[in-house]
């Protein structure tokens, strides 16, 4: 188990380092912050000075090695736009995103699992068709469109909920619904197919034939077994929640790392983009690692292979 753990942690570290490298290069390929920071028609001397000030005059590999060298010591550089520590900006924003992602995930689980069960026990009947259609529609809806529609209906027309910003619990509702759709759809689909596979199995039939109430059979016998793939998929969904937060936060002016990411990319604020990538990739890779490890605890066969 110790060697397995070590190998998985090392693999995860390599993934994170590769990711920082890719983002480092893509960010620099996409444009130059100096051109955006200086007014139109700034002189070549002004550009050279600013390029030097920002440390962008050196070759990329040198810049990258310097970045990693400092990052190891906890220094992720200064935001080019805010002239403040990049990691501080990201960490300041992280709780807002965590709150939004967590509430969305809870919403998705609370709605997705019952919908999946409903579809499975009404397999190929009206209930199943309604849920499946709804899920397909949900999957087809782009989240920026859904977000704007929710704002127009509940924020503008009905005036029930705040349009944007973070002013307490009521502000959380619309962005959380928007962000929860994608994981909700996935959870409902996985629950449905897993339940459909479980319900005809012998142990379920036995429980049923023993005369146990149907609700009990579904809840205590079928669902418990059917939930294992659902738990797996929830781990994977975390990455989707963080990337989905970029668009959702932008629409609802939610002060999290998603909206910070967009602003930073637009301004070619490399250090912040790098810090965001590092944090989010660590979270996603870490979550997947935990899911993998939890399997191996549950199933010894994985450890040996």
């Amino acid at each position: 188990m110790g060697r397995y753990l070590l190998r998985r942690v090392l693999q995860s570290l390599i993934v994170i380092i590769l990711l920082t490298m890719i983002v480092f290069v893509i960010a620099r390929l996409s444009g130059n912050p100096v051109d955006l920071m200086l007014p139109m028609g700034a002189s070549a001397a002004q550009r050279a000075q600013l390029t030097q000030d920002l440390g962008l005059d050196q070759p990329w590999p040198v810049q990258y090695v310097k970045f990693i060298g400092k990052a190891v010591q906890g220094d992720f550089g200064q935001s080019l736009r805010f002239r403040a520590p990049a990691m501080e900006l990201v960490l300041e924003r992280l709780p807002a995103t965590a709150k939004l992602a967590l509430v969305s995930l809870i919403l998705a689980i609370a709605a997705g699992i019952p919908l999946g069960i409903l579809a499975a026990i009404r397999y190929r009947r009206a209930g199943d068709y309604i849920v499946t259609t709804g899920v397909t529609l949900g999957q087809a809806m782009p989240s920026f469109w859904l977000g704007i529609m929710l704002i127009l209906v509940f924020g503008v027309q009905l005036g029930w909920l705040p349009v944007s910003g973070d002013e307490g619990l009521s502000s959380l509702i619309l962005p959380a619904i928007t962000l929860s759709i994608v994981p909700l759809v996935t959870i409902a689909k996985v629950t449905r197919s897993s339940m459909i596979g479980t319900l005809p199995q012998d142990f379920v039939r036995t429980a049923e034939s023993k005369g146990l109430p149907w609700g009990n059979v579904v809840r205590r016998h079928a669902l418990r077994n059917a939930l294992i793939p659902v738990i797996t998929v929830i781990g994977v969904l975390l990455g989707g929640l963080l990337s989905g937060a970029v668009i959702t936060e932008q629409i609802f002016a939610w002060p999290g790392i998603g909206s910070l990411t967009i602003q930073s990319i637009n301004a070619r604020d490399f250090p912040v983009v790098q810090a965001v990538t590092l944090i989010t990739s660590t979270i996603v890779v870490g979550a997947n690692l935990l899911v993998d490890l939890s399997y191996s605890l549950l199933d010894p066969r994985i450890r040996r292979s």
Binding site: R83, A111, G159, E167, S170
Partner: protein, 516 residues
């Protein structure tokens, strides 16, 4: 899907119990404003301020926050942008072509208690230009190139010296917001997040990327502001800003897209206000690298071919003001005798034939996406107009970062579309950088006679300066470096309860605004 709606309904009950902050909850928009609590105004901007240090910034959204915390010596007039009003200065005179004398307010202090005096003005100029020992010029210094320094005469008199006669000196000084003497000596970043100004407001909270909250100073030297609390919210999505102004949660939004103008007033909470801007759109022509565009007749033909009037009326719904060259009527140096090129395709064809291109030619236009008002729609209309006289233009719309890099690297196709912002309401800056020859700036044009006219106009002050600019305007009309287009109009959404008018310089000044 059912569960989603249910979740929404159950949480709704929690919102009603929430302590109501005045005018911010979605439901109570019009009734809460009548309560006697503090008067609050909310402004929504697309990006966050970058700093609280007024010398280390370059972006209008940052200025809009800082101008409420700090004061300049003088301020551009909101109605006539060629005039100035004193703030920390009570008066000024041009004592000689390179010196302006400012008389200062007495008894003004900063929020931290430091006095404002002539010594303080000198400290600000020195700090900005990097003249303090061991310092470098601040970010804003790029606007102050011609300034040599400041000289203290007595506590309430200061001289600002320029290296050569500078017609833009007052406009430059209006950009310089005063910080206390010595405030950044020990720590150059002391003001980055903790401002200290003489202005009408103090900073209460800066929640980065979310909002800035300011509170009024009761003892402000020009009188306490009538708006007690000022909030600048960062809402980067245009449709969200639009929704917020519709329901009345915010009082001012900037850059309303013309196609959405009608929506602003749809709930009866706000209306659209327009103001001519300091941004002039034009199509830059590569007269240096493109042998066809090098010909004067061709460039004149292009100007005759484009129907600017129809474009501003139809494509821009009236939110553009055609200009003869690059100088709108409300700028210094406007020449009232000049009229825009007429739309005359026949004449354009004649000129093209005379230049040796009776069947036109093919070229390409670079334009930044989502940066300038309706740029893509306007560019398409221009391409259609040019096609009528045989000039086939391929449009290349790119993200602004790519555009900026291409133009700075001087790798442009035959032409590109840009709207030049001129904070001084004077074509001097654009002439210097975008018309005068030289590959260091933003110019793809070389005419020694026009260079000489520009130098002459920009080395004089007063009436001579204005006359010089008018001469340049005539010269570039005849030998056009651009396809001349229009001055943009800026659209704001303004809540009905607020008595405030937008300004041409894109600055949002709420000192003096009142809430009904």
């Amino acid at each position: 899907m059912l569960a989603v709606v249910a979740g929404c309904g159950s949480s709704e009950t929690t919102t009603t119990g929430e302590p109501g902050t005045t005018g911010t909850t979605a439901s109570g928009t019009t009734d809460t404003t009548e309560s006697t609590g503090p008067v609050k105004v909310v402004v929504a901007q697309g990006v966050d301020p970058t700093t609280m240090d007024p010398h280390q910034q370059r972006e209008t959204p940052t200025v809009n926050v800082l101008l409420h915390i700090y004061d300049p010596l003088l301020e551009r007039d909101g109605q006539d942008p060629t005039k100035f009003n004193g703030v920390l200065a009570t008066g000024w005179t041009q004592v000689d072509p390179t010196t302006v004398e400012f008389k200062l307010q007495t008894g003004v202090t900063f929020s931290g208690g430091e006095p404002f005096d002539a010594e303080c003005v000198k400290y600000n100029v020195d700090r900005l230009l990097g003249l303090l020992p061991g310092t470098e010029p601040a970010l804003l210094a790029y606007q102050f190139g011609p300034i040599e320094g400041a000289e203290v005469v007595d506590a309430e008199t200061v001289l600002i010296k320029t290296k050569a006669p500078d017609p833009l000196i007052l406009g430059r000084m209006a950009l310089l917001y005063m910080i206390p003497t010595g405030s950044v000596d020990a720590d150059p970043e002391a003001l980055m997040s903790e401002p200290n100004g003489t202005g009408p407001y103090n900073l209460v909270e800066w929640d980065r990327n979310n909002q800035v909250v300011l509170e009024a100073k009761a003892d402000y030297f020009r009188g306490a502001p009538t708006v007690d609390e000022l909030v600048f919210r960062t809402i980067s999505e245009a449709s969200t800003r639009l929704a917020e102004i519709q329901v009345g949660n915010v009082d001012i939004i900037t850059n309303v897209p013309p196609e959405n103008a009608a929506e602003v007033s749809s709930q009866g909470n706000a209306e659209v206000k327009e103001v001519p801007s300091s941004r002039v759109a034009a199509i830059w022509l590569d007269t240096l690298g493109d042998p066809i565009l090098a010909k004067k007749e061709v460039r004149q033909a292009l100007n005759y071919a484009v129907d600017v009037d129809t474009i501003t009326q139809e494509v821009m719904s009236g939110y553009g003001l055609p200009v003869a060259t690059i100088v709108p009527p409300y700028w210094v140096g406007y020449n009232p005798d000049m009229k825009p090129y007429a739309h005359d395709p026949a004449k354009a064809k004649e000129l093209l034939a005379a230049a040796g291109y009776p069947d036109g030619f093919e070229t390409e236009m670079l334009l930044p996406r989502g940066r300038y008002l309706l740029a893509e729609e306007v560019a398409q209309a221009i391409a259609a107009d040019l096609a009528e006289v045989g000039v086939q233009v391929k449009l290349d719309a790119v993200e602004f970062g790519v555009f900026a890099e291409a133009t700075q690297a001087r790798q442009i196709p035959g032409m590109f579309y840009a709207a030049w912002g001129e904070p001084f309401f004077n074509p001097g800056g654009m002439l210097e950088v975008a018309v005068k020859s030289g590959t260091d700036g933003f110019s793809w044009f070389d005419n020694p006679e026009i260079d000489a006219l520009i130098d002459k106009a920009l080395s004089t002050v007063g009436d001579e300066h204005v006359k010089g600019l008018q001469e340049v305007e005539k010269a570039i009309y005849d030998d056009p470096p651009f396809i001349f287009l229009f001055a943009q109009k800026d659209l704001y959404g303004v809540s009905n309860r607020l008595d405030w008018s937008p300004r041409s310089d894109e600055w949002i000044i709420l000192y003096g605004a009142t809430v009904k």
